[in-house]
Symmetry: C2
Subunit: 187 residues, 2 copies
């Protein structure tokens, strides 16, 4: 059991963690059963309230739960969780309880039924707000309704570097490297 | 003038370069005038033909050109181009010829009027194929119609690590770090 304390992350800061393109673990829950999948096809669509577009394929076991419950959590794993992240991507929740199988800890969320993954340092509770592109592209628009960050380290509003993992395809991943401060005026 | 040779990148490999979430330089051309903007809000939506969803804000000077011409090029800069990338993000093409101002070299594309940025090692020529979400989210769906990769280094089909840059907001960027090979069966 992971006992790290989570604290609230202001919703306006969610984009800072998603815009770099990390692999995320998407959790859903339906009829008392939670599932988790690995996902890289996501993008920010609005700052505040934060909107996130993502592709969850009809072939994914999570698709039906996401469509029916209209709720999920986006969890951001770091390099130490790469084996579990890959394992989640290599099997289906139709056959495996991935939390039990891969030692991931579900924590209750505050606004949605889907669980947080305790081991992930950032968790974003989301509601599905637009399904018009699902029939064309399996593309869901999510609104972040509550976000969490590990209690250790710098607080919200402070810059935080995570060693996120980034999918390059064919078994290869890039781990976040050095950071550079610039004079960019982009938010 | 940058004289590196470009060679064709198979369209089915485009996702390997975009899925990690790099900042890209989006070029457009309208009435003989090219422009370039920095963009981080993009996601893959389909492997083949490659579909890419992206947010280009109505406030961006590129919006009108993208909407009118339905063509663009996604260029992927690497760490050496961070100053130029930040500069592109900090000013508007309404007032500045960014190619001239920041020393970027436009090269003719093969299927679209928008130019390639010669200094970027990967360039993806795109056509807009769906504008139904533009009025709600400034969200365009692009299809990659031709892609290029620098002639130096390993060829298409071989794994290629680029030191891409990833936007963390508020002037901070992450540069791609180490790569890890895993047993992932995800494409």
């Amino acid at each position: 059991m992971n006992k790290r304390l989570k604290r609230a992350l202001p919703l306006r800061e969610v984009y800072r963690f998603l815009e770099t393109g990390p692999v995320v673990l998407l959790t859903t829950a339906r009829q008392g059963r939670a599932n988790v999948m690995a996902m890289s096809w996501h993008t920010m669509m609005e700052f505040e309230p934060p909107l996130i577009g993502c592709v969850v394929s009809e072939r994914d076991h999570s698709f039906a739960a996401l469509k029916a419950t209209r709720e999920c959590v986006i969890n951001i794993p770091t390099a130490g969780l790469l084996p579990q992240t890959v394992a989640c991507g290599n099997c289906s929740g139709a056959r495996v309880d991935k939390f039990a199988e891969f030692g991931l800890t579900p924590l209750p969320a505050s606004k949605v039924a889907a669980p947080l993954v305790a081991e992930c340092p950032v968790n974003v509770e989301c509601r599905v707000v637009d399904t018009r592109f699902v029939k064309f592209y399996d593309f869901f628009v999510l609104e972040a309704v509550k976000a969490w960050i590990d209690g250790r380290g710098p607080g919200p509003g402070r810059w935080r570097k995570l060693d996120t993992i980034h999918h390059m395809g064919m078994g290869k991943f890039m781990v976040a490297g050095r950071t550079v401060a610039t004079g960019s005026r982009m938010p």
